[in-house]
Each structure stands twice: as structure tokens, then as C-alpha cells.
Symmetry: C2
Subunit: 161 residues, 2 copies
């Protein structure tokens, strides 16, 4: 899948329930949608097995698309210690997968992504999703977490300009 010109970027929106991913190709100033999806551990799966499932899912996605860069949503502060602990596990597994395959990791906060994609660091969720759709010429808005992952990938692509 990595044949063709340009720079392939895998965006990741980490979460223990759903981890969104999106792959784009930057060709000059053109941003081309390649694919997007979700890594969803089965409901009821033990937490450590969810983390391993997501690790495997990210490895498989890297192997399928051979991205040049991985762009991961960063976080400075979570709602509470419990959600921070869970999100930390998922981000640690994503970083481990990227390291194992030698893919450099860039990190952008949600407000940075909003600013980069819509020009407004306080944009609403639907505004970002609609901008992602327009920039990548999608017929429909991508599923929420996958759209966030594509927004992350776009943010990194803009940074590479």
C-alpha cells in the first residue's frame, strides 16, 4: 500500500475503547486520503488484553501501510487519574509499536490540531470533522475517532510543509 510518491502519515487517536487511525498521503501541497478505521478490542476484554490488542492493531496498521511518520494525539492533563492511567497505557503501546517498526512519532495536542485544521484552536468537534472531510475530499464525515486520527495526520502534514 505504500507504493506511490509522497509522504505517508498515520494519525492515531488513542483510546482504550476505540483507537482511531487514519492514513493520508502528502504529495506536494495535496493531501490525499488513503484509508481510515478503528481498532476496537472486543467488549468485556480484560484491560491488559485490550492494551495488547491495540498494540497488535497499530503494528498491523503500520505493516499494512508502511507510513513514514506516525502522528499521535498528545495529552497534558486528563479528566481524572483513572482515565489518565488508561489513556497512558494505550499511548505507551502505540509508542512501543512505532518504535518497534522504526516509525518516528510526532505529537500534537487537541487544541493544536484544531488550530491547524480549522484555523481556530477552540473549534467545535463537527467543524473539525467537516474540515477533514473537505480537505481530503471525502463524501461523508469519517467516524469520530477515525476523523480525529485523520485530523492528527493532517496537522503533521501541514507541519512538514
Amino acid at each position: 500500500m505504500s507504493a506511490g510518491p509522497g509522504i505517508l502519515i498515520l494519525g492515531i487517536d488513542p483510546g482504550s475503547i476505540k483507537t482511531g487511525w487514519g492514513v493520508i498521503r502528502k504529495e506536494g501541497q495535496r493531501m490525499i486520503h488513503v484509508d481510515n478505521g478503528l481498532i476496537m478490542p472486543p467488549a468485556g476484554m480484560d484491560f491488559k488484553d485490550r492494551v495488547a490488542f491495540i498494540f497488535k492493531g497499530v503494528l498491523d496498521t503500520i505493516d499494512a501501510f508502511a507510513p513514514h511518520h506516525l502522528s499521535l494525539e498528545d495529552i497534558f492533563m486528563a479528566k481524572n487519574a483513572q482515565s489518565a492511567l488508561k489513556l497512558g497505557h494505550v499511548r505507551g503501546a502505540v509508542i512501543a509499536a512505532a518504535f518497534l517498526r522504526g516509525v518516528p512519532v510526532a505529537q500534537y495536542t487537541a487544541s493544536h490540531v484544531k488550530q491547524a485544521v480549522t484555523g481556530n484552536g477552540r473549534a467545535e468537534k463537527f467543524q473539525i470533522q467537516e474540515m477533514v472531510r473537505v480537505i481530503l475530499g471525502l463524501r461523508e464525515i469519517a467516524q469520530e475517532d477515525a476523523s480525529d486520527a485523520l485530523a492528527n495526520a493532517l496537522t503533521h502534514a501541514f507541519t512538514l510543509r
Copy 2:
């Protein structure tokens, strides 16, 4: 290093500054110390690179000793969201490394470990360290985080009885 009878258990005390590890061999009711140490990312290293460094360190430790089980200190609640986020990353990387090498992961809370090693769930740090030393016949108490890792490994070994 995995030659010889018995069950090899790798205990891990996760931390982004120092991750302690300890390997023991359970031969019947005998608990034999194999080795212990620390995985310490260089000071000043970027956080995501620390996570990758620890992931690599755990992979290397698994490859060096070929443990049958990995026993990881569990956590239910951290001091605050920031420390929970950091610890989560490290635990996620450890779980990823164990998954990659097919080593099953057991998890025990600190109070469970205290109870298992000293018979007292509220034992002081030095009491646990001293019991680890005595059980494994070490001449000196192991470095704190490595001792905690050995205590975790022992807890799993006792559970296998």
C-alpha cells in the same frame, strides 16, 4: 540463561525514571534468585523516548532470560492524573513487550505483594526488602526498585504453589 529446571518469573516494578526488574526461578518450593537490575533511560531524554527505551529494555530482558511468566505491579489509583498518565505509558509498554514475546502477564497490587511476601499487607518498605533478601538468600538488599520487582516475582511464584 533459561536452561535448568523450574519456572522462571520476571518481576517488573514500572516507573518512567527507573523500571526495576528481577528474575527468580521457582524449583518446587525453592525460590532461587537469578538476576535483577534497573532500566533507566538517560536523564533529560524526551518522555516518549523514555517509554520506547523501557519497552526495548523489557524486550531485551525477556530475550536474555526467557521467563515463563511476567509479574507486573498493578495500580488502581495514582497520586494524581499526571503521574497516572506517566505510569500508564510505562505499563502499556511493558504489556506490549510481554505480548510481543508471548509471555503471560500477572498483576499484583502493592498491598497484595506486601501480604504475600511478609504476611502483612501494611508492611513497611524495609520489611519487604529484608524479606526478599532472606527468601532469596541475597547477601545484601537489592536496589529499591529491583527489590520491588523481585517481590512481585515472588508473589507470583507463591500464587503458583
